[in-house]
Symmetry: C2
Subunit: 664 residues, 2 copies
């Protein structure tokens, strides 16, 4: 197989790099183009590099991911890290998709090395590539589970074996490594596997698709990197095969066609159903295919589902997936805060999808959802120290919380460890999601302190962004370099900012966003010019749509991009979170704080009423409301950003608070 | 093994018959002592006999339960029904507890034959007993799964194999058959198995308990029937072994100690957790043991958990179990109406438990919960025609309802078919749960048209009860026979009846219930005397406890013992159930109706507001409430008794309705 076109000239060190021919209305930037120097997201990157990634690498040994591959290589001596003496005798360990943890980890490492070089990390990629080369079969196939446990089962049970899901993550890791100039051997392994998939599933007769979408976006990226059209065609083939009965009745009936997104052809489905992460990865692929093929019907159906998801199936935090059972989307407006699943991987997948829609349309609403998801559902998934993670991200925890599949607290690792390395690969590539460019404009989607470099057609632009968001509302952007003549600085006006002000130098600029939601500042910019953007961080109470039964009669608290919550540990002595209620006119006072265990934060002191506890006696139903006659006393309750919860004790927490006055 | 005491002299043809020495403050009656001649419960018995039981018998062939036993018997020719020629070659079919479906069916048939003799049904018991004799091993063991699939696995994996759960149902069937004078062979089989269990688990060294409680109550009943103390001791042994690590870490970690009620010793647990049916069966056994042993600590802990369950984990319908996952109880106050599991078997188990507590204490609150459960969670489980069943009993179904494990509509049968035969055995023994007696009083707990016969110490009493409950509120009780001198007629005063009137003959009697909740009418009753009891069927709006987050800001509608719901099919054209809201002062008008498909009913016409649908656009959260400014129009909505829902189409349904006024 030979490339039909060379890679694009400028190497963008980022995870999504549409070709020059693509329908993208904006172009992406690399992790070296956009550097984060602080803020909540920048801090995530530091913690990721210094705590999470080292933990992840260690877990690859502890949990057996590397041993599985060593077993498969039949090479007891193969050793990808100098200080390990793990045995490679024994049996395959963990779930069938163990290889994918390594691949996501490799991708995380690649982006992080692309951000800040590190020979030891680069060596991990090289050593892994060597190991994978040893495991890879002559025909290009590579999967430690199949090779060690079920060699005859290759492609026999695609709804569950994750063989192509793993292949997809291998390909994404290899693309990342190639884009940041890492060891070329990883890309070689990935291409051999991809070529093999092309032989079997595109040129060959195998009618299957993987039960877990993922290889589709990966193949599109591999096409983008290599110019090899067959990869794009194979991705398209896989997407078109969905919903036409490609997956037979799987062994576990609960995990049927809906679970696997094989219930309807992609152009026909109106709403996301089934396993949330699978559904969302598939959507990212659908938009990728639109971008590269120009098939408008793909964009149209995906936008339709995005609108439906946002309006009816999205938690306030951006979390997705209402049910533990099948890790699935629920019915429309089924959004229970307590039993929310809101898997961390679903938040990540949502960002992947929205990002592609942003590239395809240029509309700020996609960046709005990315911001909401990043600062809440996603940021909450990692502890302050970067060493513990949420898989499940509820919006409420009762004092007697129990879930068989979730302790309600972050954990160091998981038997199904899909989330932590997924977090790591997103965090190490966060710069990619901050800004984009067109030929004549730089778009800032997320306001993060740091620098942005973008190649406009008239020449490169360099900007410095200074901001203390999300803690205070001012953003100052300085032009460090720019081409001659006019070009545009485009700033997203966040939907949450009620009153937004802008100045260019000392000159007020009217904040009148264009039809896509961006404030366009077109000037003949000079080095040293500054733009000041004042976003409105007044705390606000938000009310849910009346069809969301599970949070009727409640309010939640937001400030800037942050959703807040009430943790038991912050409340006055003797006041249970469950007895707090808030009036719509309540005084809300932001207070800068350095909470032990939480780090820097701004808490909000809230005028609230603590209702007397209602003693347990008889059925909890009666004629006449029970609230109106309960004595209450005025207290000051304290809310902290939701992403910072569970860094102290394990008490009750809730985002949605009963709204006063009760009535009846 | 020989009996240490003979069976009690008077044979009570009922499922719970404490010994004369037991701590029961009331004595139970048989299915021939209390005959139902109509009403909702009487109608259930008719449909049960003429539709459900025949369907159940057919399913024992279709689903393979009988074939499994024939396989085990190694007797291809054995045939328990004249018109079947099912093959007995092949493999074991269905879940491991398939035998229990037959046993529950046998128990249902036994009670029904005890009610109204039928030679064909009696012959089914005889034929089954023959088959079981053929299957039973020399040492008394009997289990078609173990014998055909895993002969070496006997008692090796008790947390999942249900070997003693099945044994328990066999014993209960045999006790039922013996009490109604059925073929003695079934009791012989059951006793041989019970004696074997005594050898292994009481006299022997095996430390195990069954993962699914059930054998415990059965052993107590077998003790009651036979007087053999070892059965009682074994039941006690099993209960005492719970919560002390008797069940090791089972293969599926999600089904751990909590799921199996092995997390805490029974005297220590404060709240019901884990699999609801298992937890509830265990409680029934705990109270049975109190009754027969007098160990007050058992009654005390079980009452404590009952109070906790009623106050924090019980649905308005009496349904129990908030989670599909693990079919389990949720956290306190976690009572989502849409994702309620409320398994039919849990409603049945709740009735078993409350009934024993009623016998132990004489308190009407237990009969109150039984009534609520019978008329709502339980009655809803069967279709009007008796041919379809709910396993899961939610209080809300959205128009786009989807559950992987439940279609949201009744089904003819189930792969795990525990519920239908469980329904059948309760329905055929319903008379048992209507009335009790003491030496000098007859207690009426449920007001059902029919006759009651009770042996007071001074002589037998016979009563006729005439009532059209739950459709109208009058109950007339006539004394058909009674002994000389004073005796007491005790009538439960239902907690839902706000204004209750009583007359003896034409004489008003003050309705002043005693401390247990019963109106005691002590007279020298004469044949033909009548008591008239006027219960209050004014429809009422009920409000949930403010800690039940899932139904905050809603009201539900009740009338008498019935919970109502709003089905889409009954609403005015163009009005979606999801847009209806009700003010606390709304006019509620009961209307007698004969709804096609539902049968006789009283619907309630409700003054309601239909809010304009809120179009899908953007996130369903915003600053400022969305309800206050939605235009609404006055409509008349229609509610039907919840137990009658889903007898027409499959549209939306809800019990809890948004409460007006919205505010903010």
């Amino acid at each position: 197989m030979t490339s039909s076109a060379g890679p694009s000239e400028r190497v963008v060190r980022g995870p999504v790099v549409p070709t020059a021919a693509a329908r993208a209305v904006q172009q992406t930037l690399g992790v070296d183009d956009v550097r984060l120097s602080g803020g909540v997201l920048g801090r995530l990157q530091d913690v990721n590099r210094h705590a999470s990634i080292p933990l992840g690498l260690e877990q690859l040994e502890t949990a057996g991911n590397l041993d599985n591959l060593r077993l498969a290589a039949g090479s007891a001596g193969t050793d990808v890290s100098a200080d390990t003496d793990a045995s490679v005798t024994g049996e395959f360990r963990g779930p069938v998709f163990m290889d994918s943890d390594l691949y996501k980890q490799l991708e995380a490492v690649a982006w992080d090395v692309g951000r800040i070089p590190d020979p030891a990390l680069a060596e991990f990629i090289t050593a892994s590539a060597k190991l994978l080369t040893d495991v890879q079969l002559d025909d290009g196939y590579l999967n430690s589970y199949i090779q060690t446990v079920d060699p005859r089962g290759r492609y026999e049970n695609l709804s569950f074996t994750h063989e192509m899901y793993c292949a997809g993550h291998l390909i994404q890791a290899a693309v990342a490594s190639a884009r940041v100039g890492g060891d070329p051997q990883l890309l070689e392994v990935a291409r051999r596997f991809a070529d093999h998939l092309v032989e079997v599933f595109l040129r060959g007769e195998h009618p299957g698709i993987d039960g877990h979408p993922e290889v589709e976006t990966a193949l599109v990226e591999l096409y983008r990197l290599t110019g090899e059209r067959a990869y794009l065609d194979l991705a398209s083939r896989f997407v078109e095969r969905r919903g036409v009965g490609s997956i037979g009745d799987p062994p576990n009936r609960n995990r049927g066609a809906r679970y696997l997104q094989d219930h309807l052809p992609v152009r026909e489905a109106d709403t996301l159903v089934g396993h949330a992460v699978r559904a969302l990865y598939l959507e990212a692929a659908i938009v990728d295919l639109y971008l590269e093929t120009g098939d408008e019907s793909l964009l149209e159906c995906s936008v339709r589902r995005w609108e439906d998801m946002v309006a009816t199936k999205t938690y306030l935090t951006g979390g997705l997936g209402s049910r533990h059972a099948q890790e699935a989307f629920g019915d429309r407006y089924e959004l229970p805060p307590d039993r929310a699943y809101a898997e961390t991987c679903a938040a990540i997948a949502s960002i992947h999808w929205s990002w592609r829609l942003l590239l395809a349309t240029g509309e700020a609403k996609y960046a709005d959802l990315i911001e909401r998801t990043l600062y809440n559902a996603f940021a909450a998934s990692t502890s302050v120290d970067g060493l513990r993670f949420f898989y499940v991200n509820p919006l409420q925890r009762r004092p007697d919380h129990y879930e068989a599949d979730d302790p309600g607290r972050r954990r160091e690792w998981f038997e199904c460890a899909c989330c932590p390395p997924n977090i790591m690969r997103l965090v190490s590539s966060l710069g990619h999601y901050v800004a984009t460019h067109t030929s004549g404009a730089v778009y800032i989607h997320q306001f993060v302190p740091g620098t942005v470099r973008a190649p406009l057609s008239s020449g490169p632009v360099e900007l410095t962004v200074r901001t203390d968001l999300p803690w205070s509302g001012q953003v100052t952007i300085t032009v460090d370099q720019g081409p001659e003549g006019e070009w545009t600085l485009a700033l997203r006006v966040p939907s949450w900012s009620t009153t937004t002000r802008a100045r260019v130098g000392d000159e007020p600029a009217p904040v009148e966003p264009d039809e896509h939601g961006y404030l366009l500042l077109t000037r003949d910019w000079q080095r040293g010019d500054t733009v000041t953007f004042e976003l409105d961080l007044t705390p606000r109470l938000v009310h849910p749509h009346p069809r969301i039964d599970a949070v009727r009669g409640t309010v939640a608290l937001e400030r800037g991009p942050l959703v807040y919550c009430f943790e038991q540990v912050d409340q006055p002595d003797g006041i249970e979170v469950a007895d707090l209620a808030i009036a719509p006119g309540a005084r809300l006072r932001p207070v800068e704080a350095e909470h032990g265990g939480v780090g820097r934060t701004v808490v909000i002191e809230v005028e609230a009423t603590a209702l007397a506890g209602d003693p347990v006696a008889g059925l909890p139903y009666r004629s006449g409301p029970r609230d109106a006659d309960r004595p209450g006393r005025e207290v000051v309750a304290t809310a902290i950003p939701h992403f910072q919860w569970d860094n102290r004790d394990g008490g009750a927490m809730r985002v949605w608070m009963p709204r006063l006055p009760f009535h009846g």
